[in-house]
Amino acid sequence: MQNPIVHRELISLLRQRRTVVMQCLLAVCFVLLIAIRWPTEPRMALSGLRSQEVFRLFAYGLLAALLLILPVAPATSIVRERTRGTLAMLLNSPLGPVQIYGGKFLATVGLAMQMLLLSLPAAAACYALGGIYPMDVISTYLILILTVLLVTSMGLLVSTYSVTSDSAVRWTFGFVLSISVIATLPHYLMLGTGGLTGTAISWMRAMSPITAMMSLHGAADLGAAGMTTTENVVLRFCGLAILATAVQSLWAISRLNFSLFDSARDTGMIVDDQSLGVRSVRRAVFIVDPKRRSGYIGPLTNPVMVKEFRCRKFGRLHWLLRLIAVCGIISLALTILTTTQTVSWDVAGVGGIMVVLQVALIVLITPSLAAGLIATERETGGWVLLQSTKLSVWQIVWGKLLSVVLTLGLVLLATLPGYLVMVAIDPNQWGQVKRVAICLLMTALFVMLCSAAVGSLFRKTVTATSCAYAVVLTVCAAPLLFWLGRGAPFGHRTVEAALIVNPIAAGFSVIRVPGFTEYDLVPGNWWFLGGASIVCLLLLIWQTHRVSRPQ
């Protein structure tokens, strides 16, 4: 602990009361997990199936917790120092970039390791139940530790590039989701592909810690339509994680110098004042030039909505066009996929992929758009300025929500043509597609209102964004853990009750994805999402009213 950064970031954190409370809660959770599944009958099966089931669930739960909670700490670590002005002081101290990076890396890893250490007694209890080999326990923890290293180095690298803490959190969650889930999709989309493409796809899939964990616990080829893979995914993941950690760390260290501050203030170049040639080239590149002089806010337009679009980086028209273009390309790819693969995969298989992609898009984009609606204004002092204008609180909230609704609407519309092709191929699918569209709309509405409501409870954008992501990802990912434990240890009714809150599962059940056909989730899921959306809306209104009333 010679490194003062480790001392400041880890030891100080561990001394806080809330850290102690969280540790105790975590320990209680692990104890409960084992206590619930501890055998009560005098006789038990020698196969150790029961302890395997518990241990599997335990491992997936730990991995999910790491992927959901851990990214926030490294993502904000460097950028927060930069915005507070303390990074310049650190760089001006005798500490070198390696020590600064090392301190931050060790602090985050130390915190995660402590969480893993707390889980060891529960793992030992599973082992004591029998049916689990020491190698299983060691391999599971190896995957978890390497995931910690991978996510930490990734978060720290993103942090060196970010200007604000909330953008760092957003990008880190985006990258974590990409390596964990999206990296596995090509494998399922192009099953059986050989040659160089096939090798690349299998290596890409091995980057995901989820794939490694599934491979270790015997669910490696879930959804692979009977095709099994022979490569050692765990070994590949270990190699790739170590390599990626090393590369990301060196990359981040190379960025920790005064070049981070060596930039002039933006002089606000405007393209209207440039020559015709420059304007033409920029028009060809951007279509809608971000540097052009924008128009004045028109009548009957909510000024808060326009302001939200203008001051949000991705709200500018050229970015929206790019986003829609990307969604359009994805949609086109899905359409081609639907047309060419429906015969071999059936509509449900393709529909399942489309649902995953669309929900992933909603879950990734929406919290970053909606979580900071109120928190950012409060943090920057804009809320007081808005209050001193003639705008009512409801106009402000409506304008802010409208900016999210329009962006989400455009994104969702751009991904819908794939479904239309499915209906054209098989008109009987029209009913299912309608129900999927309702699922997506309900999901978008819920995620938006949930993010906005959770975000409004905080004063700082980064906390608001992190908590909104954590809540939304918990709703969308945690119930799937019950589905992984379907049959054993969880019965049909338990799994169905857990899945009823999950928008992805509802979409899967509607489109008849294998594994979800036996669960009747609609309209129960719609009722839940609708009810939860109303609660979130009321919470948002109450909180906005609370922060805007005179003290």
């Binding site: 203030r265 949000r312 005179p550």
Partner: protein, 322 residues
């Protein structure tokens, strides 16, 4: 007009029976140490805080119950700028103009007008989050002028500005007063306030300690005035000092040979001073200037802050002695 304003947060009294009046077109400087109640006063005036008791009105409009009308009457610039990312100065002003429901056709011209008035036209295309502090303060003033309010309330407008920016800010505030705006300004930079304010109010611990012009406050601080007599040469310095001591004995008279100046503090009337000047002239003392020195605002402020500290310390000393 503020009358008997009281604001309590639990047991803590932020404003204690505060009463203030400001006439149209005047500049009132509100000064006081940190936690004196300056920002609380401002928040009550702009409708962001409800007083525990008392009233606050602007142009006859109640600040507490008629917040919509107050928004039209008042332009409020808080100490925090309230920047937005990726937004240019003109877009920023356009947004607030639209938020004040200024019609588009009128807004376009008004934005140009306020930018011209505050000298920010050249930075119209700059991003607001990339502005220097001085530039941001000017844009902040342009923002509050958009809806043409009668009263401008500025919380620490000169805070953190360099000398050049401070002079520009001072000129801007004087210009606004000249066009008929009523200004309420808080500041820690006291010389700035003494130069621009028609009235000064000193607050400590939520109480109004003094109110009036700088000169009046100076008198409230100390009943003794300092008078300076500037001679043409230092030769007759001691003769002049003796004449003064004869007319007003028991007063503190100091000589400064290097400056050829005599200073004395007195609580005598104007007649006594006339007598002194007449005696000096009669004795053929070459007097080039005879003037009363204004009490420095800083000195006045420190005097109130000191007396407040003494009041606070008194009970603890009494307790310790007991």
């Amino acid at each position: 007009m503020i009358r008997n304003l009281v604001k309590k947060y639990g047991d803590y009294t932020a404003l204690d029976d505060l009463s203030l009046t400001l006439s149209k077109g005047q500049i009132l400087g509100l000064i006081g140490p940190n936690g004196a109640g300056k920002t609380t006063t401002i928040k009550v005036l702009v409708g962001l805080s409800r007083p525990t008791s008392g009233t606050a009105t602007i142009s006859g409009v109640d600040c507490v119950n008629e917040s919509k009308r107050i928004k039209q009457l008042v332009g409020y610039m808080p100490d925090k700028f309230g920047s937005y990312d990726n937004m240019r100065v003109r877009e920023y002003l356009d947004f607030f103009g639209s938020a004040f429901q200024i019609p588009r056709s009128k807004r376009i011209g008004r934005i140009e007008e306020v930018m011209e008035m505050t000298g920010v036209t050249y930075m119209r295309d700059r991003y607001v989050d990339a502005l220097s502090h001085g530039m941001a303060q000017k844009v902040g003033i342009a923002r509050i002028l958009l809806h043409d309010p009668e009263v401008l309330i500025l919380d620490e407008p000169a805070n953190g500005l360099d000398p050049q920016a401070r002079i520009e800010m001072r000129d801007l505030l004087l210009q606004l007063a000249r066009i008929g705006k009523t200004l309420l300004v808080t500041s820690h930079i006291l010389p700035e306030l003494s130069r621009i304010c028609d009235q000064i109010a000193i607050l400590t611990n939520g109480k109004l300690r003094a109110c009036g012009t700088v000169k009046e406050i100076g008198r409230q601080v100390s009943q003794q005035r300092t008078v300076e007599v500037q001679l043409a040469d230092e030769g007759s310095l001691s003769v002049a000092a003796n004449i003064i001591k004869e007319i007003i004995p028991q007063e503190d008279v100091t000589e400064s040979p290097a400056e050829a100046v005599i200073r004395f503090r007195t609580n005598r009337s104007e007649d006594a001073l006339v007598q002194v000047l007449a005696a000096l002239v009669k004795a053929s003392i070459p007097v080039s200037q005879f003037r009363e020195l204004q009490t420095d605002l800083e000195e006045a402020f420190m005097s109130f802050a000191r007396s407040q500290k003494e009041v606070e310390r008194a009970p603890s000393i009494a307790k310790a002695e007991a």
